[in-house]
């Protein structure tokens, strides 16, 4: 909501931005000989960029008083709404987090009356979770902002760059999801 962090610190012996160069020098000194340093440089940039991207998204979402993780779950509930059975366990598996973490997120969503929990007839241990009408209304409200924030991350790439970037992102995302054993 605040945009950049409001300056808490005024005058200041500011630190210069180092850029990536000194990191690469250090890498030269400390990387194992088996490490592909060109690849590592790209990985480092990806790590930094990934961090910033999440920061931006949470910043933009904060005006809707929701965080990326919660929206992520709500979206998942929406997209799987056709399933006959949608349990916290299955959601936890898909998201790569523990059931107890899903419980906490669901409690939050339920408190706002965006989802309902129904106990499952055919197996009394299980709970079927579904997004309800109010939850859908909320999605309608927040998603335009969500998509435009996604787009804003990319906007100054030209068409050629986007095409290549798209290919690479799909490849990397696919591979990393396999590695982690999770994914949307």
């Amino acid at each position: 909501m605040d945009g950049k962090l409001t300056k808490e610190n005024a005058t200041e012996q500011q630190l210069p931005r180092l850029g990536i160069a000194p990191y690469l020098t250090l890498m030269g000194d400390t990387a194992s000989s088996e490490t592909d340093q060109d690849a590592a440089q790209l990985g480092l940039l990806m790590l930094w960029l990934g961090d910033h991207v999440l920061d931006i998204m949470d910043l933009e979402l904060s005006s809707y008083s929701i965080t990326e993780s919660k929206l992520d779950l709500l979206l998942m509930l929406f997209l799987h709404a056709d399933k006959e059975l949608l349990t916290p366990s299955a959601l936890a598996d898909r998201m790569g987090i523990r059931r107890s973490s899903v419980t906490a997120l669901l409690n939050w969503l339920e408190k706002r009356n965006w989802i309902n929990r129904e106990s499952y007839d055919k197996d009394g241990r299980m709970t079927h979770v579904r997004i309800n009408a109010e939850g859908r209304v909320f999605l309608q409200q927040v998603l335009p902002q969500f998509w435009s924030t996604c787009a804003s991350l990319i906007e100054d790439l030209d068409t050629e760059e986007r095409k290549l970037f798209s290919k690479v992102l799909l490849k990397l995302n696919d591979r990393i999801e396999k590695r982690l054993g999770v994914g949307r």
Copy 2:
């Protein structure tokens, strides 16, 4: 340390992986007409990938009992070690977090005796923070793993892809750091 999450849930009515397609359909229905949907698709992938990348790094670092944020700060202390004055405030500004958050991170690093705090002669309010010999030894131990993890994120891109990806990453990272007003 565990690699993938150890399976807590056994049998399971597993949820299928949806892939990006249904997200795009939903985007078609809910994005504002001003939103560039091709860009938004890439942004969404970046968001997902960024998330995964941070997960992988924290997973790999967990065997050294340090997290990405703490290592990030320790690295920054190392790379700015030549400065005459390096204060928590300046670090907070560079990292885009509050001074009190830096205090917490520094306490953690200090408890392990990797850094020292010295009060600054010329201004009694300020503290000069420096990485010490033990901190440097720790960096020597952890960095090979850190770099190889960075490299592992990228390893299956070919030379051509890497070259263009590099260009795009630098551009995006630069722009996003300006937008957030922070950066390394």
